[in-house]
Amino acid sequence: MAKYLLLKHYRGAPAAVNDVPMDRWTPEEVSAHLRYMREFSARLRETGEFVDEQALTPQGTFVRSDGPGKPPVTDGPFAETKDLIAGWMVIDVDSYERALELAGELSAAPGAGGEPIHEWLELRPFMSATQCITE
C-alpha cells in the first residue's frame, strides 16, 4: 500500500474547466457538490483506503525568523500569485493507478449547472519512512 496526498487549491493550480466560483452556484448545486464530496469520502472509508482529510481556511500567513524578538509576519510577499491550499485528503491505496483514479473522481465533483468542475487536484506520494533492504 502507498499513501498519497490529494491537495485541493484555492489558488495556484490551473483553472478548472467548469470554472464558476461556488457562490455563483444555485443552492441545489452547492448541496449536490457537498453530497458528492461526503459520499466520496464515505466510500473510501468503506473500502479501507481512507486515512485523513482536513479543510484549511484561506488565511495563510508567512512567518520568518528575524533573530531574537518577534518574528516578522506577513500575508505573503507574493499576494497575487501565492498558492493557497484549500484542504487535503490522504488515501492509502494499492497502486499509483488507483490513486489517479480516485483523484480523477474527486475532480469530477459537480459544480455549476450540475456539470463536473474538472478542477486540477495535486496528487503527491508520501515519502515512505520504512527501511528498504538493498544489497
Partner: protein, 381 residues
C-alpha cells in the same frame, strides 16, 4: 504472559472452530474475543491447557454470537470451566488458514491485514498502528477481506507462492506502533516452513533471518542509513546468520531452486564476509544471473549491474547499467555510486542529488543527499 505464544495459538483455534461448522469470519471474530479474554484472565488464572482453554472460550463466544436463546447459553456456561485437553490436527488447519488469508481474490493490502489478524492473532489496532492508518480503516479492510473469502471452498491446496509473497510484504514493511512486523513475519514464516517443508518457504525464512541479522548495524542511533560496505559487522547477529545459513543450505541441497533461496544465497554471501573487501562478488554476480533467469525482474538486473561493478570494476557495472531502463527505481543512485567508484566525483555528486530528488524513502533520500553534499564539499571551489 507471553503474548506472542498466545498469538501462535490463534490459527489452530480458528481452524478448529471452522471444522466444527463456524464460517471463517465468525470463527475469526470469536477467536479475537477469546484472545482478548485470555490477556485479561490468564495472569490471574493461568490455564492448564492454553489451547483447549482458547478453543472452549472461542467456541462459547461463537455460540454467543450466533444464538440468542438465553437458557441454552446458561447451560453451556455451566459446563464451561476448565475443559479437557482435546487432540486435533493442528497442522492442516493452520496451513488452510494461510492459504485462505493469501487468497488471490484479495488485494495485497487486504491479504496482509487478514494474515496478520487471523494467522498472526494481532488486534486490528496493532495492525492499524503498524501501517499508520486509522483503526477504522484497518477494520474495514479486514472485514471486507473476510467477506471476500467467506464463500471460498477449500477442496484443493492454495497457492503457496502467494502466501510467501504476502509474508515477504509484511517483512518489508518495517514497523511502528507496538508490533515489530519484521519479527512477526519471521515468526509466521517459521511456522509456515515447518508446516509445508517447501524449499521456497525455507528460502524465504533464511532470507528474512539473514536480513534481520544485519538490522542492528543498518542504521545509526540517529536513524541515518549505513550502507552495507560501512556497516559494523561485529553488530550483525551471528546466531541469526548461522540459523539462516543452515536453513538455506538444507533447502539448496534439495535442488529445487527458487527466487527466495537465490536471494538468501546472496544475503548469505554478504553475511559470510568478515570485511566488505572480502565479499565474494564473483559468486554474487552468478547468483544474480540465476535470479534474473528465475524472475526476469528488472530490479534483479539492476542489482546485478551493481554487483558486476564490484567484481569486474565500475566501468563494467556502468556498461551493464546502460542496458537498463533509466526509469527503474534506484537506477540513478546506482549510477551515482558506480561513477563515484570510477573516480568521477563531479558526475557522481550530480547523480546523487538527482537520485535524492526522486527518492521515495526518507532514510534513503537523506543518505543520497549526504553523499552528494560530501562529494560537493570535496570539489575545489
Amino acid at each position: 504472559m507471553d503474548e506472542v505464544a498466545l498469538r501462535d495459538l490463534a490459527p489452530t483455534v480458528i481452524g478448529v472452530l471452522e471444522r466444527r461448522g463456524a464460517d471463517f469470519a465468525a470463527a475469526e471474530d470469536a477467536v479475537q474475543e477469546a484472545l482478548i479474554e485470555a490477556v485479561r484472565v490468564w495472569p490471574q488464572e493461568p490455564p492448564r491447557d492454553p489451547r483447549a482453554w482458547l478453543i472452549t472460550v472461542a467456541w462459547r463466544k461463537f455460540l454467543d454470537a450466533t444464538r440468542a436463546e438465553a437458557a441454552r447459553r446458561q447451560r453451556e456456561d455451566a459446563v464451561w470451566a476448565e475443559p479437557a485437553p482435546e487432540s486435533v490436527a493442528a497442522v492442516d488447519d493452520t496451513l488452510h488458514l494461510y492459504f485462505l488469508c493469501a487468497h488471490p481474490a484479495l488485494s495485497p493490502a487486504s491479504a496482509v491485514a487478514l494474515t496478520l489478524r487471523a494467522v498472526g492473532g494481532l488486534t486490528t489496532r496493532q495492525i492499524a498502528q503498524a501501517y499508520l492508518v486509522p483503526e477504522s480503516t484497518m477494520a474495514q479492510r479486514i472485514s471486507r477481506a473476510k467477506r471476500t473469502v467467506s464463500d471460498v471452498r477449500f477442496d484443493q491446496p492454495g497457492d503457496l507462492s502467494t502466501v510467501l509473497r504476502v509474508l515477504y510484504l509484511v517483512f518489508n514493511e518495517g514497523y511502528s506502533g507496538d508490533v515489530d512486523l519484521a519479527a512477526e513475519a519471521i515468526r509466521l514464516t517459521r511456522q509456515l516452513a515447518k508446516l509445508t517443508a517447501d524449499e521456497e518457504a525455507a528460502g524465504l525464512l533464511a532470507l528474512m533471518l539473514l536480513h534481520h541479522a544485519r538490522r542492528p548495524a543498518r542504521t545509526r542511533p540517529d536513524g541515518t542509513l549505513v550502507p552495507l560496505a560501512d556497516q559494523d559487522r561485529a553488530r550483525w547477529d551471528t546466531r541469526l546468520i548461522a540459523e539462516g545459513v543452515d536453513i538455506l543450505q538444507a533447502a539448496l541441497a534439495r535442488d529445487r531452486l527458487g527466487e527466495y533461496q537465490t536471494q538468501a544465497a546472496i544475503a548469505a554471501l554478504h553475511a559470510d564476509a568478515r570485511t566488505a573487501e572480502e565479499t565474494d562478488w564473483v559468486q554474487i554476480v552468478e547468483w544474480y544471473d540465476e535470479l534474473v533467469r528465475l524472475t526476469d525482474s528488472p530490479i534483479a538486473r539492476l542489482n546485478r549491474a551493481v554487483a558486476l561493478g564490484e567484481s569486474d570494476g565500475p566501468q563494467a557495472g556502468l556498461a551493464a547499467l546502460s542496458d537498463l531502463d533509466p526509469a527503474l527505481p534506484r537506477h540513478t543512485a546506482a549510477a551515482a555510486y558506480l561513477h563515484e567508484r570510477a573516480g568521477d566525483s563531479t558526475t557522481a555528486a550530480r547523480l546523487y542529488a538527482e537520485a535524492a530528488r526522486t527518492a521515495t524513502n526518507l532514510a534513503e533520500r537523506d543518505h543520497l543527499t549526504r553523499q552528494a553534499a560530501h562529494l560537493n564539499s570535496q570539489q575545489p571551489k
